[in-house]
Symmetry: D2
Subunit: 315 residues, 4 copies
């Protein structure tokens, strides 16, 4: 195996921008009102409403970290807490961004295989919390679909978590940095993969985009709040039409799903070569002392995936 394929699996963050995304960005060059007052940005609400089959509001944002944290800032007050998995991206990989955006709110860590939460695991965290001012109270629940280990929540699983959140008065957020991969793997409607959540970080950057993820809200007040907070975070880019264009290009003709399917297929090919290391759903590989992580992307070449698979089989 040469080093080229290895390099190709380093991170979907390194992947190139999809040609149709480039085209859409170039087409946005014509002058338009700044910030999110252009026609493309203004179309996002309608597009996400259509995609999810219920009233939705969509905001572009330049990173998954900012998407998650802005979303959570509308669901959790500074003195509250967000329940998430111990290995959730917001806890483990965002450089303390939740602490910044949520003004010091607390992440409350739950356990679960493959970074997956269950109602039981969530209850184990929140049930012992007495309604006492000495204890931070949970305000929100955040799950990652697909998880940081490439595991997917089945639609019944995510629905059960949403029910629990609602029962306990918790806002419900889905970190969908790789939401496309989850939907492609589940073969379900986007709405069912996200469950009846309050906010969804809808990842585009890892899926053929360049610099725009989306936050999708299912409540107008939260969306409005996020717009104030986005500006306040220096994330209201003046030429926002170039970000909106990326998202629209990925939504158009379900390019986002096609890209995710391509990445999943490449992952499956590799996984097939790995025997007992195979994980359920589409696969990103676990990593750790005895593990490797290979990340496929929308543009992983079939020949690279096959070469890697053969190399693994030959181990």
């Amino acid at each position: 195996m040469t080093s080229a394929p290895i390099k190709a699996f380093m991170s979907d963050n390194a992947a190139a921008v999809h040609p149709r995304v480039w085209e859409a960005m170039r087409a946005a060059d014509d002058p338009q009102p700044p910030y999110d007052n252009d026609a493309i940005s203004q179309s996002l609400d309608e597009r996400f409403t259509s995609l999810f089959g219920r009233p939705a509001w969509g905001l572009w944002i330049a990173s998954g970290t900012a998407a998650n944290c802005l979303a959570l800032a509308t669901l959790c007050e500074p003195h509250g807490g967000v329940v998430c998995h111990r290995e959730a991206h917001i806890e483990a990989d965002e450089g303390g961004a939740p602490g910044f955006y949520l003004h010091g709110a607390k992440l409350m860590l739950a356990e679960g295989d493959g970074a997956k939460l269950t109602p039981q695991a969530v209850r184990a965290v929140i049930d012992p919390i007495r309604p006492d001012v000495h204890w931070v109270q949970p305000h929100a629940l955040s799950v990652t679909q697909a998880t940081e280990y490439g595991r997917v929540y089945r639609t019944a699983e995510i629905a059960a978590l949403a029910v629990l959140a609602k029962e306990r008065g918790l806002g419900f957020h889905v970190d969908g940095a790789r939401f496309g991969n989850a939907v492609a793997s589940l073969g379900c409607l986007p709405a069912d993969a996200a469950g009846p959540c309050d906010a969804l970080s809808f990842g585009c950057i890892k899926n053929g985009g360049m610099s725009a993820d989306a936050i999708v809200f299912f409540d107008e007040d939260r969306a409005k709040l996020a717009r104030w907070r986005r500006k306040r975070a220096g994330h209201l880019q003046s030429k926002g039409r170039y970000l909106a264009a990326q998202i629209v290009a990925l939504l158009e003709d379900d390019l986002w799903l096609a890209n995710a399917r391509a990445a999943n297929a490449a992952a499956a090919e590799i996984a097939g070569a790995c025997g007992d290391r195979l994980m359920q759903g589409f696969a990103f590989y676990d990593w750790g002392d005895d593990a490797a992580r290979f990340v496929t992307a929308w543009n992983t070449r079939e020949e690279d995936a096959r070469a890697l698979a053969q190399a693994i089989a030959a181990l």
Copy 2:
């Protein structure tokens, strides 16, 4: 006068991306390490060191608001204050971002014509402040070059402010959202237009870029601190090479200066038609009850500027 030219002067935020910036972004499509680990991002320190003739560290960032606030967050502690003009962008137009990034630090407002500060105006703010815990103490000074009204600080003026800042132990920040226009107008070295500042927001987006401004630090510790804080603010984009490429394209062969000169020339043409409304230096027009604001950009067409000038002359 038709409406087309009017629309063209709405905002430099709406201007198209320069062709050479587009080319550089496309050339960055080849996979590279994510975040700012790619070769283009890694080249920024050297490029800004060369541009300013002293050790410099350069970070890309997606907006001028974020550039200003991240820079100031390295110069002012949460319990301190930043002296700035009452009409400074950080005070008037950033949706409270300084309060967010500086964790509640205070903006201390000084007066001056055309949003320009003088040492005297700064002293009028800071001299009455006793070193008493009941009073917020100034930690930093921020000036805008060119100002929000299109006024420029001459090199001696900015140097005098830097001297005052140093005497009083204040960090010194220059908001250069339109720094290119200032340098082009002054006809001086970039280092002289910025003065011996600690941090400079080096605007690119209004000057032919798409989604990348730069923060330039002249101290390694502050640059390091800003890297932690940039991630924490959700501004460490995973495909950062596309941002770095924009900045490098503008620095290459001084495209940033050429663009700024073109915008200034268009502004001068219009200003020439305005008689006593003309303001010194290159001109963005004052606005208010009896004022209009026309903004030129790198791509303002000469014929549009002339048409507007004629229309004004005919009033």
Copy 3:
């Protein structure tokens, strides 16, 4: 004039604790549940409900700064602003505490003689603010009764400000660090001196107390929110009964009003000697280049006040 009387007028912050407050604190020595679970703390809601003639919730807190900032934190979100006078205590003398407690929200400064606001002055601040994310929006209005210059709002004046706040959707806070002096001066009901506000900082420390002011809320949800935030600010003292006892002692038989009347009377005596420097209402003196500030307290001795008055008359 000897120096003793001068010293006596230095600050009401330096005054001794009233004997009946001491007695009440000693009587609280008997063990009771910690924090605010003791019977005395639990009685505050009822006592303030009775005092103001409408449902009220009362919390003890160790300083006027904390009282103001905790109250405002329930009325203004981090991305919002609080309109107040340029010389309001929260702007001028609290060491940036509002920035801390309100997570970077902005103070929006209005003008007015004697630190007094008018609806017109407030409108001059808020009317130009467009509902645009680049501009911080006002969320609350804070007035000081009596003002930092010893001026009082007449009941119609405070009512007019409350009406404006309500019309514009602003929370309405009254900083009553010297509320007793205002009520004593106005000779009206406490409810009329505070107007239909959402929260009142009810000062006790300057009026015979030791270490307890009160925050009075007129809405249960805000009171609950303040309880979470009080603990989070390290202000939920474990032996809270000693703070509650101070407040109850001052409320008992209207000791707070008697103390305020005594201070006002001493101030009036001095003011009578000052001719054209006399300010309306009860008087704390203006200070500045050609001014002096004498502060009377509950325990200002009549003979001291007279001695000072004679000294001033003899100037």
Copy 4:
């Protein structure tokens, strides 16, 4: 066993104020400059310097929560983290105050029996943290002496933790809410019980005080920083002399140690009756499903302790 003794063991937070503390407070009634400008407050630096045998700066503060959080705010930047035990008071019982005071910094949780940390446990937390902006970096280490379970660090244990902190560039904080009990139990010098820490929360309230704990700094710059932040947190009480007086009364003739010894003795009596539930050092009892917590204080009556011991023995 009657309910009276049970009530007596509810919490040392509920205990009465020591008579000598009362006396000192009454003696402070004479007018003095406000805030911490009075002679008693000004004496704290010298008194703690003498107590610890190295230059020290002492600030009064109204709660242990505020003491801990203000101390940590001088040791950890907003983007950093504080390593502490999973059951440390700052993590488990302060209502999110560290998130507030540290502007969103992260608590990094280590394991250990009886809430006690070891160098090994601390390394297990910090060693895997790469110096990467995606990961929050540790800035400080906080240990509780005695721990939340009544365990004490021997002098060599605390010294070893301080050495590790220094090696890794971490600020070192000791939460001494029950520091007196630890010193009394160890029978060592205060300096040895605290180790070479940067800041110590020196608990007084649980040990005969009313409303004043102390923060002791061993570095002038941190002490200065804490003074700015104390005001900003609304904790600079205007009649601070009454707080200072409490601390001075407890330090005078080592009343703090005498009180702690009395509480430890009562605890030992009870513990003696508990057989295998006895924990090392002086004892506060574990609690949980099969546990009870009895808290002794400076004024636990010998007869109450004995009655409780007998009741336990009779179980």
